[in-house]
């Protein structure tokens, strides 16, 4: 089945096509996997200058307390995520996880405190399910709106601040995970200093009808190239960031995934608002006692990429299987293969030598700390 006629288009679809994007189906959308520069150049350009990504397929949701008291919305969100939302200051954003009753992860998301409401960004493939879930669980307390009327773009890389400053001078006052409203070229936008590449950068929500105008202004800058999903994936992999559906899913817990940092003390055992989220029993226990397996970084010794679903063994014959690769490929900045996967407790220490099954052979890999490329966030 071709299915292309059923694919949805982002507000930037025409621009993506006009820029020479090679379009592929992704999470129900017709999205650019790469532009004429190609994945390698797009990746390296983002780390050296600035890249612009269309991520409008992701779900943007506003969460507004029916009482008018934003703390009620914060308390409602805390019933869904193991994250401190009540303590999230106005103008700040946090990484969060929708957990399930088994301690697994329904989705990962960003939550921003916008003063009189919360602004939430969820994954494209999960957004309809997430929205229905939020409606069911907190719809009585909060008014929820899914904003298909807004585009979302990411401007990432060391030159991102200078590029955005040409449209909005106040940008340099923002630090990592700050969120501000601003007018870019007369479009009322929401800007956060965040991203999915490990680089400094911004994510910008733009009204759909003005999105192409704003993006063309950003692309006019000689330092900015459009970047497709291919480089988006290799950039996030080098940054050690999870891809929902690959590295985290409904049967991986936040502790197994190494995402303990997303669970603040106030939500942990002994904290003022400990527990109270789905799967708290499992997750709080794992925070105290550890999990039987854990997500680790992997570097191959050769040049052959080790990709998702490769099995990991302690011996070169592949007899003693201890885990599986969940994401892997070639890291253009590392100039070599990089991967991540889950391994049993005995094999999680950095420096552990393992063997990955690739096309019938077992190739030597080493467990390493992530990220593979040092992040450059402006904290």
């Amino acid at each position: 089945m071709d299915g292309s006629s059923e694919l949805k288009k982002t507000p930037l679809h025409a621009l993506n096509v006009s820029l020479g994007g090679r379009m592929v189906p992704f999470a129900g959308y017709d999205m650019p996997v790469q532009y004429p520069a190609g994945v390698m150049k797009e990746h390296l350009h983002t780390r050296a200058a600035a890249g612009l990504f269309d991520v409008s397929h992701m779900g943007q949701v506003t969460v507004r307390a029916r009482s008018g008291d934003n703390t009620d919305a914060a308390r409602a969100l805390e019933t869904l995520v193991p994250v401190d939302i009540v303590g999230l200051a106005e103008g700040r954003q946090r990484y969060a996880l929708f957990t399930n009753d088994e301690g697994g992860i329904r989705d990962d998301l960003m939550i921003a405190n916008r003063g009189d409401h919360f602004y939430v960004v969820v994954n494209a493939a999960c957004k309809d399910a997430d929205f229905a879930y939020m409606q069911e669980k907190i719809g009585d307390i909060c008014e929820l709106t899914l904003h298909d009327d807004r585009a979302l773009v990411a401007l990432q890389g060391p030159h991102a601040e200078a590029v955005l400053a040409e449209l909005w001078g106040d940008v340099s006052a923002m630090r990592f995970m700050d969120v501000r409203a601003c007018d870019l070229h007369d479009a009322h936008c929401i800007v956060s200093r965040s991203g999915y590449t490990g680089e400094d950068g911004f994510e910008i929500s733009i009204p759909a009808d003005l999105a192409e105008t704003v993006c063309r202004r950003l692309l006019d800058h000689p330092d900015v190239l459009p970047i497709g999903l291919g480089a988006r994936d290799s950039l996030r992999l080098e940054a050690g960031l999870c891809l929902y559906g690959n590295d985290i899913d409904t049967v991986t817990t936040p502790v197994e995934a190494g995402l303990e940092w997303a669970i603040q003390k106030v939500r942990r055992t002994g904290g003022e608002r400990a527990g109270g989220f789905p799967g708290a029993g499992v997750i709080l226990d794992q925070l105290e006692n550890g999990a039987a397996r854990r997500r680790v970084g992997l570097r191959a010794e050769g040049r052959a990429p080790v990709r998702a679903d490769a099995v990991l063994a302690t011996d070169p014959e592949g007899q003693d299987i201890v885990g599986t690769v969940t994401s892997g490929g070639f890291g253009p900045t590392i100039d070599g293969p990089v991967a991540m996967g889950y391994v049993a407790g005995k094999a999680t220490a950095p420096g552990t030598h393992l063997y990955a099954g690739v096309r019938g052979k077992f190739l030597p890999v080493t467990v390493v700390a992530m990220p593979f490329v040092k992040n450059t966030f402006k904290r």
């Binding site: 190609g38 390698m40 291919g230 994936d233 040049r303």
Partner: protein
């Protein structure tokens, strides 16, 4: 004699030995290659067997043996520098030389005009 397959390989056949590579169209579709694995000299393959593997940043793809035969030479230059396949796919980016089990088999493959029609 230059021939092409539906799997986007080219074969330059001289005296019963085919020099085999992937077409310009295939190289463009695959994007920047980062790894190439070639067969061993002396290996024999049937038509359609997995003779080589190419990997881009994003994905791995098989290169099939276009006809029955034996590998008599491989191009180590592309394992050392896979980008050669992108920069010169139908020249310096060749993969291997295949001694055809039956030289007449090549007659069934496409000529250049037919291949151009296939890829548009």
């Amino acid at each position: 004699m230059l021939k092409f397959t539906e799997e986007h390989e080219w074969l330059k056949i001289e005296n019963g030995v085919a020099t085999v590579g992937i077409t310009t169209h295939a190289a463009e579709q695959l994007g920047d290659l980062v790894f190439v694995e070639l067969p061993e000299v002396g290996a024999t393959f049937s038509k359609g067997g997995d003779a080589a593997t190419v990997e881009s940043v994003k994905a791995a793809s098989d290169v099939y043996c276009p006809l029955d035969g034996e590998i008599v030479e491989i191009n180590e230059a592309i394992t050392a520098d896979p980008s050669l396949v992108n920069s010169d796919p139908q020249g310096a980016g060749w993969f291997f030389k295949l001694k055809l089990a039956n030289a007449a088999d090549a007659e069934s493959l496409m000529d250049e005009a037919a291949y151009k029609e296939l890829v548009g």
